[in-house]
Symmetry: C2
Subunit: 486 residues, 2 copies
Amino acid sequence: MAKDERPDLEQDDLLVVDAPMPDEGARPDDRIDDERHDEENRLKPSYVRSVRDALADEDYSTVYDLVEPLHPADIADLIELFDPDERRDFASAVTDLMSSDVIAELNDYVREDMMESLSARSVASIAGQLETDDAVQLIEDLDHADQQAVLAELDAEDRAAIESALAYPEETAGRLMSRDFVAVPEHMTVGNLIDYLREDVDLATDFFEVFVVDYAHHPVGTCQLSWVLRTPRQIALTDVMKRDQTLIPVTMDQEEVALMFQKYALISAAVVDDSGRLVGQMTVDDVVHIISEEASEDALLMSGAGEGDINEPIRDAYGARVRWLVANLGTALIASLIIASFGAAIEQLVALAVLMPIVASIGGNAGTQTMAVSVRAIAMNQLTRANTGRMLWREMRVALLNGATIAVLVGAATGIVFSPMLGAVIAVAVLVNIVTAGLAGVLVPVIFERLKQDPAVASSVFVTMITDSMGFFAFLGLAVASGLTG
Amino acid sequence: MAKDERPDLEQDDLLVVDAPMPDEGARPDDRIDDERHDEENRLKPSYVRSVRDALADEDYSTVYDLVEPLHPADIADLIELFDPDERRDFASAVTDLMSSDVIAELNDYVREDMMESLSARSVASIAGQLETDDAVQLIEDLDHADQQAVLAELDAEDRAAIESALAYPEETAGRLMSRDFVAVPEHMTVGNLIDYLREDVDLATDFFEVFVVDYAHHPVGTCQLSWVLRTPRQIALTDVMKRDQTLIPVTMDQEEVALMFQKYALISAAVVDDSGRLVGQMTVDDVVHIISEEASEDALLMSGAGEGDINEPIRDAYGARVRWLVANLGTALIASLIIASFGAAIEQLVALAVLMPIVASIGGNAGTQTMAVSVRAIAMNQLTRANTGRMLWREMRVALLNGATIAVLVGAATGIVFSPMLGAVIAVAVLVNIVTAGLAGVLVPVIFERLKQDPAVASSVFVTMITDSMGFFAFLGLAVASGLTG
């Protein structure tokens, strides 16, 4: 964080600005197909350019007028489109547009980068305005010293809430849950509840369900607000509430939480500690981000792109990717050794060198296809021990169909261009490699999963290694065995 | 559909069974860490086996006792784990466990497969119990004749709702929206609203927001139920409601809808027709499935695995995948032609054949990494014309770092094993190919997107083609140019 306070002072002014009132901000027609958004609700390049130009000209009143009508989420998008230096200029120029909502909506890397330039007091004043879960996100990535500095600036209540959240491991319900929720005792009637909600001013304003708890604060049921509103005052809550609840253990991993919300179509769920006491709630709007992250994560992991966030610092991106390129170098080396062992054959028949990449490349593709399907099915809990056998048999049949088709095509072409014998050899090699790819594409992820490893992370390196090696070995080996190379 | 009615009759009995009451079904402790679920909330293989065995022994009362405590979503999972013939046995054996909720939760392919075996009347009796959006899902995949047969069996109201939904293109808000929502006139007070909700029995029971509309049925504001409950009766709704709404055009694609819900953290949103009239609502619990689908879709598309659903019929999976394998065959062919043009060089120096796959394979990996990042960023509206230049420059720097690292490793090893000159050649070739991969990994998806094509679909074929060709060309070309092959 910036050690000297002066540049931060002016920022501090704005950072105590509160989140906009619901009825402020963009009107719907400002959102889509307006002069600021294109048909896919992205900010138009022309609009972004006009803000940039005004920013460059230090014409801050124009910047303000341009940006003021935007929804906080759109302001966050705009900031992400800026270059890092533009971001800082923008933040210090039109400080009172930098509401806590905007900061909560920012990409993690961009937010972290901007926080680094702020004083502990500035960060604390933002954190104080945020919901606990957003505040935790804001400071969990700061190094320990900065975290302590920020916590020290917070008032006791916020600090306690944030510290209790930080006590749980990252990416667990304890970190992500909201501590504002409505829990009421079993004996209440609908009327009691409505009166209680009207009177108690400290309650959260946005909630969708009310949790009914027993004397020990164990949840016994959940009441959707729509049920409450549709029921006469004198009815007991216990007659309205749903007893069948999905309880989230406070230590549950966010990926499991996301699957729970999807599977049981939850709007909110009670989070309970080890003794079953209600300690927080998770609402679907928080889970939505997790669902999308977790679902897209696999594509990036399989490709060896790590986090794959375009705002990730270059050194992180380099570190994440070079690891897999080096691993790939290792697998390519194995392939080369196999080729080298057939050097004599290649010298006699250079056509082998010309054709061998086809066999390897087709196998690699077939393997990637099957692997992507398996990894997704494992992530969605669709592929379990109970149906692995059927999945394997299914993929074998698909592989035989694919293999036969490609083998015929490549075999015929090679037969015509080179020799019928070489055509037969490459046809068999392709078929063998595609079937191998199908096996590897299912078994490698399944084995990683049973070893409690993330199947998405390392599967592709192994699958490629298997298909490359098998591709070169089958093709060159068969060529030699068939006496093609004299 | 089965033409003869007899086998269906017994199924019809059960199919009029209603969805379980909220307080029926599993208790929370039945959900996690019980004898039926493992720690990741998947059905235990041992449990699935016991149901299977009982089913095989036609011991249907045991099957019933085993399955009865499950949540409908778990029963759907169980059915998906069964083999197709087991599914039919199960459905006809313990018919009254096959509630409409279970059928709504089933995987599309599995449900379609099971529906085919039912009479139009059976399907209609299920559709009649479902929310319109689920009912539409149930019959939209049936062929036209079957659809008409089912619609004919439905009562007028349901039929009208479903037909109006089917009138909209697939995967648009019009298809997915729910038609039961609560809309009230502007002049109402909080008290009026509560009385209205208590009196009107036909209203939906599950809703989270009330839409306030003007005389022309245009939405003017949205009221979260929690705000209603926290406000005194005499206050006007117009003073409670949020005027800043995100309106979903009825023709909006589901992917855009999903991004809207994520970006603006929506719980529900009004769907409006071309004239701005309120025609339906979308709630986040419906959108959650779309978000996860859309996010994981790209991984499967990039790998050329099409839908990639493990329940997809084999012929469909074959059709989707073989297309890309053939395309890959084409790109591999181009690579082979390049190699062939250097045949003489390879005959003189077989080491070239041994090493050339390394250059191509490393480039392919680096390209896939960058492509995965770009495709994701485009899908999330993070990569637009406004920041493409910065993204490209960023990827160039990452590519140079990766390229330098790998070039040094592979160059040194080759220099030692073969010759310093060959080491230099492969080092330069690897660097060139990784930089090319970085360029292609950004530009190919961006160009497809600007041509209004899905970047995820065809990008990988092109990127691989570019990295393979460049890999072989750069390495073999440099080898010849450097006079290595005399």
